[in-house]
C-alpha cells in the first residue's frame, strides 16, 4: 500500500514537472518570439529616428551654410545697415604704467574732442 502511494506521488510529480517543463518551454518560445518582434519593432523605431536625425543634420548643414552666407561682409553691407569700419582717430589705447600692455578702446568721441 505504501509502495503504491509512493509510486502515485512520484507519477504525479513527474506529470507536474513535465507540465511545468512544457509550460516553461512554451513561455520561452513565446518570450523569444515576443523579444524578437520587440527588437524588430525597436529597429524600425531607431531606423525612423535615424532618418529624422539625418534630416535634422541636413537641415543643420543648410542652416550653417545660410548663416555663413548671411554673415559674409557683402551680405552685411548689402543689407544697408550702414556699417562702417572704425574711425581710427576714435580708437584710444589704454596703457598701464606698470605693465606697459596696451588695450585698444574705441570711443565715439565728438568731432571737436579728437
Amino acid at each position: 500500500m505504501k509502495i503504491r502511494r509512493v509510486a502515485e506521488r512520484r507519477s504525479w510529480m513527474a506529470r507536474a514537472f513535465t507540465a511545468i517543463l512544457v509550460l516553461a518551454l512554451i513561455v520561452a518560445i513565446f518570450g523569444i518570439v515576443w523579444s524578437a518582434s520587440g527588437i524588430t519593432a525597436m529597429e524600425y523605431q531607431i531606423g525612423e529616428l535615424e532618418a529624422r536625425r539625418q534630416s535634422a543634420l541636413k537641415e543643420r548643414k543648410d542652416l550653417d551654410a545660410s548663416i555663413s552666407e548671411l554673415l559674409s561682409m557683402r551680405a552685411v553691407e548689402g543689407r544697408g545697415l550702414e556699417l562702417k569700419s572704425p574711425d581710427r582717430q576714435n580708437v584710444f589705447y589704454v596703457m598701464h604704467e606698470s605693465d606697459g600692455v596696451q588695450r585698444a578702446s574705441a570711443l565715439s568721441a565728438p568731432e571737436e574732442g579728437r
Partner: protein, 570 residues
C-alpha cells in the same frame, strides 16, 4: 504482401528524406556563401553616404567652401509607364524644359540622369509624386557661402566633386573624403531598419591664410575701380611681408562659384599668379637695389635728366615728368626713366640679371596654388643692345603681380625674400591639427642698410612731389612705387599707344609694415598712369584694411593713449 508494400513505401519515403537531406546539405555546406550573399542582398539595401569634401576656412575659421546634401534624380525609362506625364512632372519639378526631359525618358536605356544635385524642396516634392521608374540618389554638393569672394583662389569642383581649379585642386588629397557605402536592413515594404551609428565620412578641413574681410575689401575696391576707370580687369594682392602669408588675392571681374554658368572662363583665372606682364617702373627697385648693393650709386648721386629723353639703340625713351639735375633718390621719387637708365648703365648686364634672379624674377615663387607662371627673364647672352636699358626700367621682363609683390616684401622686411603661401593649417574632421604651415626663413637678398635706404626713398614717392601722392593713407606713411606699362601688341610686336597697365606696389605703415599690397589695373580708360589709377585703389584698400586690422595711426601714441596708473586699476 502488406509487409512488402510497407517496406517499399518506407524505402521510398526514406529515399525521399535522404534526397532532401542531401539537397539541404548541398545548400548549407556547398552553396552556403553564394546563398547567404543572395539572401543578404534581398533584405538589405546599399546606402551611399556620399563624398563629403572637407571644408575650406579662412584664417579666422569663417567657411569659404562647405557641402550641402542634395538629391540627384535618375530615371529608368524601361519602367516608366507614361513617359509624357512623367516628363511633364519632372520638367516642372526640375526646371528643365519639357523637351529635354522627354528626350531623356524616351531613351530606352536602363538608366538616365534627369537632374543632378537638385535642391531639397524640389526633390522632396518630386519624391512625393511616387513616379514609377524615377529614383533618387543622395549626393553632396559643394557650396561657396561667400559667392564670388576669392573665387579664383578657391577654385571649384565638377559635378562629380572632382577638383578642377585653385585650392580645391591643390589640396584635393587633404579635402577628399572617402566614398562610403553601407548596407542597411530593409523589410518587404522597403522600410529600413537601424544598423547602428552611420558615421558620415568627411575630408580634412583646410584653413587658409586668407582673411575674408581683407579679401572683400580688396575686391570691392577693384569693382569700384573697374566701374570708374573702365578697366578690362584688375588685381590686388595683400601679403604679410614677414611671413609670406597671403592675406588677400583679389581678381576682378569676379565670378559666383555657385553659378558658374554665368562666368567667362577668363574670369576664373587667378591672374595674380598665372598672367605675367611687364612690370615697368615698379621693377626699378630691383635696379636700384643692384646699384646700391654693388656700391655703383649712392642716393645722393646727381643725374642730369634735363633732356627729358634718352636714346637707346633706335628708340627714344621719355620721362613723364620733366626735371633737370636730380639725385638718384629723386630719380626713383619721380620715376625718371632717363635717370634710371643712366644709373643702370653703371653695372653690367650680368649683375642686373643676377639681382633680378635674386629677387625671384624668372622663377615661380612656389606659392601653393596651381597654374603659377614663372614669368620671363632672358639670360644676358640673349639680350639685345637695348635690353639692359629696357630691363632696368621694367620692360623686356615678364613678372606676375605676386613676383613683384614678393620683391617689395623684401624691402619692407629688411632684405629677406619670403616664400608666399596660402595654406595655414590642415585639420582632421575631429579638429586635430594634421599639418601646419610654418613660416620658412627666406634668403637674404638685400643688406638691412640698403633695405632701409630703399624704404626711405619709396616713402618719398608718396610724399608731395612724388608720383604717388594719391596713395597716401590717412594716419600712416606709405612706401611704394608706381608703374605704367604700355601693352605689347603680339601681332604687330609694337607697344600700343592706347592700352596700358597701371600698377602700384607698396607697404604700410612704412616703418613697421603690416602688409605689402600690389594693385594692377589692366587697360584703364582715360587716365592710365599708376599714380592716377592704381595708387588711389591702393589707398582705398589700405585705409580700410588698416582699420579692419586695427593698426594704430602713426600719431596714435602721441595723441590717443590713455595712461592708467597702477593705483587707478580696479
Amino acid at each position: 504482401m502488406n509487409n512488402r508494400r510497407t517496406a517499399v513505401l518506407a524505402t521510398i519515403v526514406l529515399f525521399g528524406f535522404v534526397l532532401v537531406g542531401l539537397r539541404l546539405a548541398h545548400l548549407m555546406l556547398m552553396s552556403h556563401k553564394e546563398l547567404s550573399e543572395e539572401a543578404r542582398l534581398q533584405h538589405q539595401i546599399r546606402k551611399d553616404l556620399g563624398v563629403n569634401r572637407g571644408f575650406i576656412l579662412d584664417r579666422k575659421n569663417r567657411p569659404l567652401a562647405v557641402n550641402l546634401d542634395t538629391l540627384s534624380v535618375y530615371g529608368n525609362p524601361t519602367e516608366i509607364e507614361n513617359p509624357a506625364a512623367a516628363a511633364s512632372a519632372l520638367a516642372r519639378a526640375t526646371g528643365l524644359s519639357y523637351d529635354a526631359v522627354s528626350q531623356k525618358v524616351s531613351n530606352r536605356r536602363g538608366f538616365v540622369w534627369i537632374k543632378r544635385k537638385l535642391e531639397t524642396p524640389a526633390a522632396e516634392s518630386l519624391r512625393a509624386l511616387k513616379l514609377k521608374g524615377v529614383g533618387f540618389i543622395p549626393e553632396a554638393k559643394r557650396f561657396y557661402p561667400k559667392g564670388d569672394v576669392a573665387a579664383q583662389v578657391l577654385g571649384f569642383v565638377g559635378v562629380d566633386n572632382q577638383p578642377l581649379e585653385g585650392i580645391e585642386l591643390k589640396y584635393d588629397s587633404a579635402l577628399k573624403g572617402e566614398q562610403k557605402v553601407v548596407m542597411v536592413g530593409k523589410d518587404a515594404a522597403g522600410r529600413t531598419l537601424s544598423e547602428g551609428e552611420l558615421e558620415l565620412p568627411k575630408g580634412n578641413t583646410v584653413i587658409l591664410t586668407l582673411d575674408e574681410g581683407l579679401q572683400y575689401i580688396a575686391e570691392t575696391a577693384l569693382d569700384k575701380a573697374i566701374q570708374s576707370w573702365g578697366c578690362a580687369s584688375a588685381i590686388a594682392v595683400l601679403m604679410d611681408p614677414f611671413s609670406g602669408e597671403i592675406l588677400a588675392m583679389a581678381n576682378r571681374p569676379g565670378c559666383d562659384l555657385n553659378d558658374l554658368s554665368s562666368c567667362r572662363t577668363s574670369w576664373l583665372r587667378n591672374r595674380a599668379i598665372t598672367d605675367p606682364f611687364e612690370p615697368g617702373s615698379t621693377f626699378k627697385i630691383v635696379t636700384a637695389a643692384a646699384l646700391m648693393e654693388e656700391g655703383a650709386v649712392k642716393p645722393t648721386d646727381i643725374f642730369d635728366v634735363s633732356q627729358g629723353y634718352i636714346v637707346v639703340g633706335s628708340k627714344r625713351i621719355y620721362d613723364v615728368h620733366r626735371s633737370k639735375r636730380i639725385t638718384f633718390a629723386d630719380v626713383l621719387k619721380t620715376s625718371s626713366n632717363v635717370g634710371t637708365i643712366k644709373a643702370g648703365a653703371r653695372i653690367d648686364s650680368e649683375v642686373l640679371h643676377a639681382y633680378a634672379v635674386k629677387f625671384g624674377f624668372g622663377e615661380k615663387t612656389g606659392i601653393d596654388l596651381p597654374g603659377e607662371s614663372s614669368g620671363a627673364l632672358r639670360a644676358p647672352r640673349q639680350w639685345s643692345g637695348t635690353s639692359h636699358a629696357s630691363i632696368s626700367i621694367g620692360y623686356e621682363i615678364m613678372a606676375t603681380p605676386l613676383q613683384v609683390l614678393r620683391a617689395y616684401a623684401a624691402v619692407a622686411n629688411g632684405g629677406w625674400l619670403v616664400n608666399p603661401h596660402i595654406l595655414k593649417e590642415v585639420q582632421s574632421p575631429d579638429g586635430a591639427t594634421i599639418m601646419r604651415q610654418e613660416a620658412v626663413l627666406g634668403t637674404q637678398v638685400l643688406s638691412p642698410h640698403t633695405a632701409r635706404t630703399l624704404k626711405e626713398i619709396l616713402t618719398s614717392v608718396t610724399a608731395e612731389g612724388g608720383t604717388a601722392a594719391s596713395a597716401n593713407v590717412d594716419g600712416n606713411t606709405v612706401a611704394g612705387k608706381t608703374g605704367t606699362t604700355k601693352i605689347l601688341d603680339r601681332s604687330t610686336k609694337t607697344y600700343s599707344g592706347a592700352r596700358y597697365i597701371s600698377s602700384f606696389v607698396g607697404f604700410v605703415p612704412a616703418q613697421n609694415p603690416r602688409f605689402v599690397l600690389s594693385v594692377v589695373a589692366f587697360e584703364p580708360k582715360g587716365e592710365y598712369y599708376g599714380g592716377q589709377v592704381a595708387a588711389p585703389i591702393f589707398r582705398e584698400i589700405a585705409e580700410r584694411a588698416l582699420a579692419y586690422m586695427d593698426v594704430p595711426r602713426d600719431d596714435t601714441f602721441e595723441t590717443n593713449v590713455l595712461m592708467v596708473k597702477k593705483a587707478d586699476r580696479p
